[in-house]
Symmetry: C2
């Protein structure tokens, strides 16, 4: 198994790689990251998880008001999806008007920690990425100018 070495960055992916992604087989080429990202890579899951991580429990409309821009439909869809994966727990109090509370499960909290880690990476490197985008735009523009 090969090792990667660039700029004195040596990452021994060999061991980990087989765990997280095995491309050699059509059937065993299942990728857990893909599965996870298919679920919370959507538009609202992260916001929802982050919000639920701020307090121990929240009601539907409370969540809706804190996640700016989300529609009623999408909040329902998102919460069902998270509930289905065992990340969020839904408690219904049988009363009129209905009262429903949502909270992260311990699994949800462990994902939250990963999200926070990813968020810290994103915050740290966001300026590099933005610079790269600007630089790329400049390169593309100059190529366009040359081809005129």
């Amino acid at each position: 198994m090969e090792r990667t070495n660039i700029d004195n960055q040596t990452i021994d992916l060999g061991k980990k790689f087989e765990i997280i992604y095995n491309p050699s087989s059509e059937f065993k080429g299942y990728c857990p990251i893909r599965d996870i990202l298919d679920r919370f890579g959507d538009k609202w899951s992260i916001y929802t998880i982050l919000q639920l991580g701020q307090t121990d429990k929240m009601r539907f409309n409370e969540l809706k008001s804190k996640i700016s821009g989300i529609s009623q439909r999408m909040l329902t869809v998102t919460l069902r999806s998270l509930e289905q994966d065992g990340l969020v727990e839904r408690t219904i109090y049988p009363q009129i008007p209905p009262r429903v509370e949502y909270r992260l499960t311990s699994l949800g909290f462990s994902l939250l920690e990963q999200m926070v880690n990813l968020g810290e990476w994103a915050s740290t490197h966001m300026d590099e990425i933005i610079k790269a985008r600007e630089c790329f735009a400049t390169k593309t523009n100059s190529q366009l100018i040359q081809s005129n």
Copy 2:
């Protein structure tokens, strides 16, 4: 700033939360995680990053053959996107037939590390999630039966 406490899990998100997501303002409510996930939360970016992390450089068709299922178009699109964000470096050797090499930048490698972390989380908790999905399906079915 509130603290979250469930099952003896105390995460002090207060400090980190403001960095990674500020929902209080329409304009300052910019979320770096969202930005990042909008980029590599797509269908092919992770596979591409993982593959490029396996060797120090790869050619276009080499990549295409290793990422099973990807179309020529989507590989181009994905690589351009990653290049634009400074995660991948593209080297063109002006010869016929053309020779193009791709490699991760150091920024790309640091993202790869995050992906590996996420992948380990996913691998560790995948069985819990699958169980939760099955359990959810059972609950839903029994509700359907009751309503019949």
